[in-house]
Subunit: 374 residues, 2 copies
Amino acid sequence: MSAIDFKVIKKDGPTAARVGSLTTPHGRIDTPIFMPVGTQATVKAMTPEELGEVGAQIILANTYHLYIRPGHELVARMGGLHEFMRWKGPILTDSGGFQVFSLTELRKITEDGVKFQSHLDGSYHFISPETAVAIQEALGGDIIMCFDECPPYPAEYDYVRRSMELTSRWARRCKEAKRRNDQALFGIVQGGMFTELRERSAHELCEIGFDGYALGGLSVGEEKRVMYDIMESCAPFLPEDKPRYVMGIGAPEDLIEGINFGFDMFDCVMPTRNARNGMLFTSFGRVNIKGAAYAEDRSPIDPECGCYVCRNYSRAYLRHLYRAGEILASRLNTWHNLHYYLSLMAEARKAIACGRFAQFRREFYAKRHKGGEE
Amino acid sequence: MSAIDFKVIKKDGPTAARVGSLTTPHGRIDTPIFMPVGTQATVKAMTPEELGEVGAQIILANTYHLYIRPGHELVARMGGLHEFMRWKGPILTDSGGFQVFSLTELRKITEDGVKFQSHLDGSYHFISPETAVAIQEALGGDIIMCFDECPPYPAEYDYVRRSMELTSRWARRCKEAKRRNDQALFGIVQGGMFTELRERSAHELCEIGFDGYALGGLSVGEEKRVMYDIMESCAPFLPEDKPRYVMGIGAPEDLIEGINFGFDMFDCVMPTRNARNGMLFTSFGRVNIKGAAYAEDRSPIDPECGCYVCRNYSRAYLRHLYRAGEILASRLNTWHNLHYYLSLMAEARKAIACGRFAQFRREFYAKRHKGGEE
């Protein structure tokens, strides 16, 4: 028995896009969905109530960061991640693999696991598939991820093949190590930019059997075309009746492409991180709010947007807050960007439900090339 | 005709404390009141709606900061400070004097005004009583302040006397320069720690006639006892039927003392700035949330507090957010501290209305010495 239940509600038809319903121990999610990233048990600058207001249905938390600080055992003693951070909806935790490979110094990979030094204090740590599962069980997310090796980009075929094979062996160990039955476990397809390795990876993971399947190792420096090719070629390798998740992407257009290829779940720091850097997403393209052009602009960020920020504040004020380094700048910009991402998902779901996703996708591109800065 | 209307509703009796009602063009204020400081057209980390939720009735904005960035003329073109920052309630702007004297380099004081260099870019500026009023008229606060010289501490009697006399002459020029009749103008009593200079200052300002009177030049390094002595001795110099405002103080106990002596309005960065440094105010004293003692503490900051933060979050989580440098730490800590300050004012008003402020004051001190860290 899986801890989650996934149903495809409607297929677009002309495209591979689909609308689904994913039921978790902490509530139901409409897919396709974007998951705001709450790295350190908080989606930066937002309260849980505000996440609800912008339309967040599920958030992601980073296992590596929480393992390092405040520690997964502390979180468990505080009642788990939901209780600790007061987010009542579903949570997905990543496996920590990506951060171990991108943030830490002196990591050493063996068959058993990875030895590495903390990015905070240089202390030594070891994470294996078994400990990655144990940490995620302590955190208590609704969906946990297999511990995978995320190869660098570019990488040689042989390195990526060996890495993918290790990831498959680790995936089996993760499944065997799992104890809690109120958490779903997703496998992570690796294989770099080599389609045949991706296919083998997907095949091996499906043989083990998981509650959902993710594409890992994308958005690591490859060109968009390459990323889209991998998404397009890999979607058919994944079971139709399980959620399909592309990890760590992306820009709004990346989500539209992912949906187009039949993916259901996405996460990325882009809307939140870019917000803190003054970069705002709108229906007509991107806006860099620090621009002098907005100094006396009394219009909202996006006149078509109905979010709290666009209903209340002028570009002039947002520019002032940003330039003055005010916390409210990060707050309002994050609010707007997350609202943009989550509204885009809601509109995509609506379009798919009506069998007109292809048209929706064309309009998305046509509109954003009209008035933005890029 | 004054732009504001002030009525003393109830006198405590045993103490000089009083409850008042101050009507401004943007709404009515209950006094005694604490005004959160919104230096750069935002009370740091808070939205206007949240300020309402914590009980803020009036906020203060800093003329110097807004003059430097984004500029008072820009704010005026954007519809004034209320419209710019979307705070619908009353706003008081300070005169900029305190910042000119504490923040800027190479200031040169003449009879005419002050020449100084911006703390941001070193550019040269000149502010006179007339320009200080013009800037505040452009910003559009409900209450504006006379441009004063704030002498350093300690300072020689003769310096303070000449400074106070200059402040009086500047106060007259401010009143004469004032054009808008929908703003109230307050005079600022100076005179350092010399009671007889304070008395002369108050007398001279009353002769000119203002809508309210403030004590300036306190909390500049003097001991608390000295500050309290000045407040106590100066209150009787100020008209009973006008609001009395102590500028730039203070800690909760300073407000209690100020109320005890008959003052009505206070402002200070302490609740907001200390919040961002992890220092929280509670009914039983101060809490430094970074303390290891709170690492696994599931109780709220203050079990007696009913604010959003105390209703939802544990000390353990707040400590984690603070240590992780999260924006949400600043938000939640600011929320709680402002709620504490504004609830304290509400409770003080209630006590005065019942003629039991002396008892309230005793209980305030008795309680906070029981469980806090200091």
